[in-house]
Amino acid sequence: MTATVTSRRRPRLRAATVVRFLVVLVAAAVVFFPVWTSFVSAFLPSGVVVRDGVLPWPGSLTLRNFVAVTASVHLVPQYLVSVAVVTLQTTAQVVTGALAAYALVFPRWRGRALAFGLVLLTLAVPGESIVIPNYELVSAIGLRDTVLGVALPYLAAGYPVFLLRQAFAAVPTEIWEASRLDGAGDLRSLFAIVMPACRPEVTTAVIWSALSAWNGFFWPLLITDSGARTVQVGISQLAASEASDPSVLFAGTVLVVVPTILLVVLAQRLLVNGLARGVLH
C-alpha cells in the first residue's frame, strides 16, 4: 500500500519539479538575455551585430571593438578614479550609516523617532534636484575635478542608514547591554558586536553603496573636466548619436559591467556565509 502511494506521488513531484525548473529557466533566460547580447555583440564586427538582430551568435569573433574603446577613452586612469570613488564613497556611507543606525537603535534619547523620520525623508528627495547646489558648494571649496569632489556629496546616504537601522533593531538589546556591562564602549559595541551580527545586511549596504558609486554618471560628469573622470563618464564618449558604432558601445558596456557582476557574485558568497555564520541567526 505504502509502495503504491509512493509510486503515485513520485510522478506528481517530478511534474512539479519540472514546472518549477521551467519557470526558473525562463526567468533566468529573461535575465540572461541582455547579458548574452551585450557580451557576444562586444566581440562581433558591427555589420554582423546589426544583421544578426536581437540574438547575436558568436561566429566571427574579434577584439577590434575593445581596441577601439581603448583608443577613444583613457580607460586605465578612469578605472582608477572609479575604484577610488567607489572605495571612498562606500566606506564612508557604510561607516556613517552604521554610526547613525546605532545611535537610532541603542542609546535612548529624545527625538530619535523624529531623527529617523528626517533620514527617511531624504529618500524622497530626487538626487538630480540637489545637483546644482552641490555643484556650487563643491566648486566654492575648490574641489571641482577631484576624486574627493566626486565623492563628497555622497559620503552619507539615507538608504544605508535605513537598512542598517532595521537590521540593528532586530538585534536583542540584551546583547548590546551585555557588551556595555563588559566594558565595551559604543564604538566597540558597534563594530565588534552589532555589525558582525548583521553581516548580511551590512553586505547588502556595501553592495548598494558600491553599485550606486560605480554607476554614478551625471554628477561625476558635471563636477569633473578631465582630471577625475570616472569610467562611466569616459565610456559615454563612445556614443556619438548616429555615428556610434554599436559593437564598440557593447564592448564599452562589457568593460563597465564586469566589475559590478564580479562584485555581486563575490558579495553573494559573503551574504550566504553571513547568513550561515551570523551569531544570532
Binding site: P45, S46, G47, V49, V50, R51, G53, A71, S72, E128, S129, V131, I132, Y135, E136, S139, A140, R144, F218, L221, L222, D225, S226, V233, S236, Q237, L238, A239, A240, S241, E242, A243, S244, D245, P246, V248
Partner: protein, 463 residues
Amino acid sequence: MKTRIPLLVTAAALLVSLAACSSPGTAGTGDRPADTTGSAPGPSALAKADGVTDITIWHGLGAANGIAFQSAIDRFNEEHEGKIAVKATYQGVYADLLAKYNAGIRSKSTPTVLLGGDVATGFLTDVGQSIPAADMAKANPNGLQLGDLAEQATNYYKVDGVQQAVPMNVSTPMLWVNRTILAKAGVDTDDLTTLDDVVAAAKTIKAKTGVAGYSMQADDWYIEQLTATAGQDFCLPGNGRGSEPASSISINSGQAKENITKVADLYRSGVAVDGAPDGSAAISAFQAGKVGMIVMSSGILGALKTGAPFDYQALPFPTSGPEGKSGPVIGGSGLWLSATATPAQQVAGWELETYLTSPEVQEEFSHATGYVPINTKTADSASQQQYLRENPITERFADQLAGTPVVSAAAGCVSGAMTAIKAENISQIVAAFNGQKSVDEALDAAAAKAKDSFAEYQQQLGN
C-alpha cells in the same frame, strides 16, 4: 537621457531668469586694448599677453567625431606652442553639455569656447554669456572671415541679424535608399525628388517586395525638416529670428500639416517602421535590408560603411514647397566665445575658431566624420575634389547644403524654449504615428503645448 530633459528645462528656465537680472555680456577682466570693438577685443590683447594663454573648449563630440576633433586641437596646440594652450573636454551629449554649461554660469566656470548644439542657439543667445561672432570678426579683420563660410550654415546661428556663433560641424538630412530593394520594386531613384514621390515609392516597395518602404528617426528635427522643405517657418513669427520672439509653431497648419499627415499614414498603414527616438531602429532596419528608404542625417554614413553590405545611396531630402523658398535645416553645433574670459583668452579663442573653420581643418574633419565642410574655400582644394570624386555620397551632402536657399524657412527656428518644445512635439508625433491619436489631435496638442512653452520662456526672461 530623456529623464533629464525636465530637469534641464527647469534649470535652463532658472538660469535664463538669472541672466535676465544680470547681463554679463560686456564683462571680461583685464584692461580693454585700444583695438577693442564694442565688447570684442582685437589682436593686440593676445599680443600683449605674457607667456602662454590657457583656454578651454567644451564639446559633445563622441566616438570617431571626438577623436577627429581632439586631433585638430592637438595640431592647433603644436602650431601655437608657447603662445596658446587649448584644453578640450568632452562634456557629454548636447543635453548634458548644456546642463553643465548652465551650472558653470552660476559658478563662473564656463569655458572660453563652447561647441554647443544647434538647438541651444536661442538659449545661448538669451543668457548673454557670449560675444557675438560678428563683433569678434569686426575687431579681428585678419582672422576668421565669416563670408567664407557657407551662408546656409551661418544663417542658423544668426539671431536678429547678428551672427552670434560660428558653425563648426554641420550635418544635413538625407533620404537614404537601398538600391537593391528599390530595383526589385521597380522604383527609379531619379523619381524621388518630392515628398509625394517618396510616399508613393514607399507604398510600391511594401506592395511589391513585402519589405517596409520607409522609416525615419523619431526626432523633432525631422518634423522641422518636413516643415522647412514645405517652405513654411516652423516657428512664428519669422522662425524667431527677427526682433519679435517666437510665440507659436506652425506644424498644425498648411503644407507642414499635410506632409506630417502623409508620413503618419505610412506608419499607420504598416508601410513604414518605427525608427526609434535615437534613430537606431531605422539604421538597424536599413542595414539589415528590412526597409527600402530612411530619412536620416548625413552623419550615419560612417555606420553604413561598416554595416550595409548592399548598394545604397543618399538622395536630397524630398521637398514639397516652392523652389527657392524651401529647403532642409542644418544640424550640428556652433562655436560660442565667452564674454567673461579675459581679452587675451577671447582673442585666443577666436584664433581657435578661425583655425577650426579653416578650409584645411574642415576638409580633414569632414573626411574623418561625415560632417559637411562649412568653409566654401574647402571646395577649391585639389585633395577635396579628388575625395569627392572617390566618395560621391559625400559630394551629395555638400551639394545639398550649397543648393539650399538662404531663406527664413530653411534657417530653422531659434528660441530658448525649443528644447522643451522638441520633447513635447515628438511625444505627440509618435502618438500620431502609432495611431494612439489622430494626426489633427496630436498636432493641435503639440501646438498648444508649444505656445505655453514659448510664453513661459518669455516670462522667465522677464519680457
